[in-house]
């Protein structure tokens, strides 16, 4: 009978997120008014009871657009207190730690995301500085040459190591998640399903369809600005990554070494990416502090840590470009690289993983919808 008592308004923060997600989706499955909004509501019609990997899968399908919350007849102050995006958001945050590899690192990061990111970034900057102790940062630099501050080999070593660690941890974590959510289901995976999932994921289709009301100043309504910020951040981040890859190719394949001129391809792509990243993350930070709902969503610290570190990386990168011929360059370079490499090391435990969790859930969703027939919900 405890589910009945749970139907009464409870302090969600004190409850196991799986229990709250189960209670919430059980109400939704009896109601189904939100069926047309997003995959979460379609996926629940294939199920009658929800247990753990299923709930994790459903939680990661949610894009937190807020449409179902605005529409919910049982939203607080109704005694059922249904808040789907919040319940699923809390469970997702827990998932990021639970499926992380190694799990202990995930839990540790989740408890102190801001401090750990800051400390990792600063430590790496210090380490790089120490490994190049021969060079003094007070020394006037030679026309923007970064390697006079940190030697190329040190930079490559740090980049390679942090990137390799991040990749291994990410792959192992994602494998753990995928195995869990596909444990019971054996949907037939088709190329078509994969295609749909990737498109929906990259377009953020489910963040855009029903949330065209409202604007950043609107403290309640869902707004398209979240999607705009997200796309700027995502594509800005990827452009920065592409810029780094091009620079690597310049170095090793073409034998052209940095510093690259302002009109060179790596700098152009990097500048565009940096500007997009900066505006996207600024948008996110603005929304967080201006939407009452956004402050209550349960991933506040994880979100803010990610957006501020990306914001810092973008800002320091752009400043570095502008000020690379001044005295500020050495300090900026150390901070920028420290945060970039710190970002990589903490990536498998940070909010960055949400994209991968969501993509895997979308793949399963489209595979499952190709096969499944919804379960008719009775009458009326």
């Amino acid at each position: 009978m405890n589910k009945i008592e749970n139907l009464l308004n409870i302090d969600v923060s004190s409850v196991d997120p799986s229990v709250e997600a189960d209670r919430t989706l059980t109400v939704c499955n009896a109601c189904r008014y939100c069926e047309g909004y997003c995959p979460v509501f379609k996926a629940i019609t294939y199920r009658r009871v929800f247990d753990n990997p299923d709930l994790d899968y459903l939680a990661n399908l949610c894009h937190q657009c807020g449409a179902c919350y605005q529409a919910c007849q049982y939203a607080p102050p109704h005694e059922f207190g249904i808040d789907v995006p919040k319940a699923l958001s809390l469970l997702r945050a827990e998932n990021y730690a639970r499926y992380a590899w190694p799990q202990r690192a995930g839990k540790l990061f989740q408890n102190n995301p801001t401090w750990l990111s800051l400390i990792t970034g600063l430590c790496l900057a210090l380490l790089m500085y120490l490994s190049n102790a021969s060079v003094s940062i007070d020394e006037t630099t030679d026309s923007g040459n970064f390697y006079s501050i940190i030697s190329h080999s040190v930079m490559v070593a740090f980049a390679g190591l942090t990137f390799a660690c991040a990749s291994i941890a990410l792959v192992l974590g994602m494998r753990r998640y995928w195995q869990a959510i596909t444990d019971k289901a054996t949907p037939s995976f088709s190329l078509a399903a994969l295609n749909k999932a990737v498109r929906a994921g990259l377009n953020l289709t489910h963040l855009s369809k029903h949330n065209q009301v409202g604007c950043p100043g609107d403290s309640e309504g869902p707004s398209p600005w979240k999607r705009y910020s997200h796309q700027l951040t995502l594509w800005g981040f990827l452009l920065c990554f592409v810029s780094t890859c091009t620079a690597t190719a310049y170095h090793y394949l073409l034998g052209i070494t940095a510093p690259y001129p302002y009109q060179s391809i790596p700098v152009l792509i990097g500048t565009l990416g940096g500007l997009m990243l900066l505006s996207g993350t600024s948008g996110f930070i603005y929304l967080k502090f201006n939407q009452r709902r956004a402050m209550q969503m349960g991933q506040l610290q994880l979100d803010l840590t990610l957006t501020t570190s990306l914001w810092l990386i973008a800002l320091s990168g752009l400043l570095l470009l502008v000020l690379r011929e001044t005295n500020a360059m050495p300090a900026l370079l150390l901070v920028h690289l420290g945060f970039v490499f710190g970002f990589f090391i903490t990536m498998p435990y940070s909010k960055m993983v949400h994209g991968l969790f969501r993509m895997l859930s979308l793949i399963l969703f489209y595979a499952e919808t190709e096969d499944a027939v919804g379960d008719p919900a009775g009458s009326e």
Partner: protein, 466 residues
């Protein structure tokens, strides 16, 4: 705090109650250029009356639309309506509602409401009912948004108490905002304040003590004060005080606002007993969607207005789990203990029922004709013996959707006086006048169509009489 003075500045039109009917009226009147004041008793967070719990409306259409299959002619619609009401319908008003229903769909779409195809589990409504994406609250959010943009002055936590009339003309009304009484004059008033199902005293005066055990599926704010006041002003009434839409729902649902999730779909696959452990009606008379509305009344007639659906494990999975978990036990006597009914009586009822079942093919989705023999009441379909533990029970109580007693109106939505003369500047729409069309019975999706169609008519006519 806006209502500080005891007399407020005059509005052109006051709309009483901001559910679907009220919003349709307010928006239409504002679009005709009137200054509209919309008064709503609930706080903003719980606005929208019963309309917030709805999910679809019934629409006549000549050809398939984006969200409706096939065609549903006006004649078919009228026939479906007359069948459920046994002819207890003002046909002139019903025809207006039906003819205007498709235009209503277009109008709602133009005012920001998004529709979707019938949601899974809503049986056989693909052709007749357009579903609101996100349900009634999403529909209302769009309409509120539009009303605000049009400059409609919406006041929450403001309860309308009495109307002041002079020679059958509306002059002003009195209302209460957080303990502060105010008179507001206006040139016309539109009453869209719903039924009176949430008025415990009124319900008790009709049903006696039984009313205390009724659950109200929708808003706690529909207490019918404007309706009551119009009775004082000698308005002509329609519908019987006892008529209402009442269904059997899970007894564990909250007293108010439980909405759709407390419904139960399992009844036809088992038996239903009262708290004396006795059966009282044919559980398999017809498909459940066609029968759930009579079960509200049936349960209301049982001692303490409670009943229990009893099933065994053979039929698990054939019905949707309710939002409340089943009560489960491995033998009948333990189950009876959990339900607080006499174990020997329950065992006897089930033994007797099991003996009356016959062999035959059970088919969950059709009227399988698997009936009992030599038992009163009989069970006409799906009569399987209850013999496979664990046994499962769900408690049932009457859930009142809305009452039908209301104001008689004419084709321009004017309320009518006992003399037969319309009140020239008093209009009514929605639940408060649904009884004109729904004299008894119910046809899914007509509540919202009545509110929308007559809300728009009232808004238009009120603006025209300024």
């Amino acid at each position: 705090m806006t209502l500080t003075k005891s007399v407020q500045q005059k509005a052109d039109i006051i709309v009483v109650g901001a559910g679907h009917a009220g919003l349709c009226a307010a928006i239409t009147a504002a679009e005709s250029g009137a200054a509209v004041l919309l008064l709503e008793v609930s706080p903003k967070a719980m606005r929208g009356g019963n309309s917030r719990h709805t999910r679809n409306l019934r629409v006549a259409h000549q050809a398939p639309t984006a969200t409706l299959d096939g065609a549903y002619s006006e004649a078919e619609y009228l026939q479906d309506l007359l069948t459920v009401t046994s002819g207890n319908t003002n046909q002139a008003l019903a025809s207006i509602m039906i003819t205007e229903s498709e235009a209503l769909l277009t109008w709602l779409g133009a005012h920001g409401v998004t529709f979707q195809k019938a949601i899974s589990g809503s049986l056989n409504l693909e052709k007749t009912n357009a579903f609101f994406l996100g349900g009634g609250k999403a529909l209302l959010n769009s309409l509120y948004h539009r009303a605000e943009a049009l400059g409609v002055d919406i006041r929450y936590e403001t309860e309308v108490l009495q109307l002041k009339l002079c020679d059958d003309r509306f002059k002003a009304l009195s209302c209460d905002h957080r303990g502060q009484r105010t008179y507001i004059p206006a040139d016309a008033v539109i009453l869209t304040s719903g039924g009176f199902q949430a008025n415990e005293d009124w319900m008790r005066s009709i049903w006696g003590k039984a009313a205390d055990n009724f659950l109200i599926r929708g808003t706690p704010y529909n207490k019918g004060l404007p309706l009551k006041d119009m009775i004082r002003h000698k308005a002509r009434l329609t519908g019987d005080a006892k008529q209402c839409h009442a269904v059997a729902i899970d007894a564990r649902a909250p007293k108010y606002d439980g909405g759709i999730v407390s419904r139960l779909d399992c009844v036809s696959y088992g038996i239903v007993v009262n708290n004396k452990a006795l059966r009282f009606y044919d559980e398999g008379e017809d498909y459940w969607p066609k029968r759930y509305a009579i079960w509200g009344r049936l349960v209301a007639q049982q001692p303490e207005q409670i009943a229990f659906a009893i099933l065994d494990s053979k039929t698990v999975g054939l019905y949707m789990p309710s939002v409340y978990p089943p009560i489960v036990a491995n033998d009948i006597k333990t189950l009876a203990g959990l339900l607080d009914i006499d174990p020997f009586a329950l065992q006897a009822t089930i033994n007797h029922f099991n003996h009356s079942t016959c062999s035959g093919e059970f088919q969950a989705k059709t009227l399988d004709g698997l009936a009992t023999q030599n038992i009163e009441p009989r069970k006409s379909n799906w009569a399987l013996p209850l013999d496979t533990p664990p046994y499962i029970a769900f408690p049932l109580k009457p859930g009142i959707t809305f009452t039908y007693l209301g104001l008689e109106v004419n084709s321009t939505a004017n309320a009518i006086g006992q003399s037969g003369k319309p009140f020239p500047n008093i209009f009514a729409a929605g639940e408060i006048m649904a009884g004109n069309i729904l004299g008894q019975g119910y046809c899914a999706g007509t509540g919202m169509t009545i509110g929308g169609v007559f809300g728009r008519i009232a808004g238009r006519e009120a603006a025209a009489c300024l």
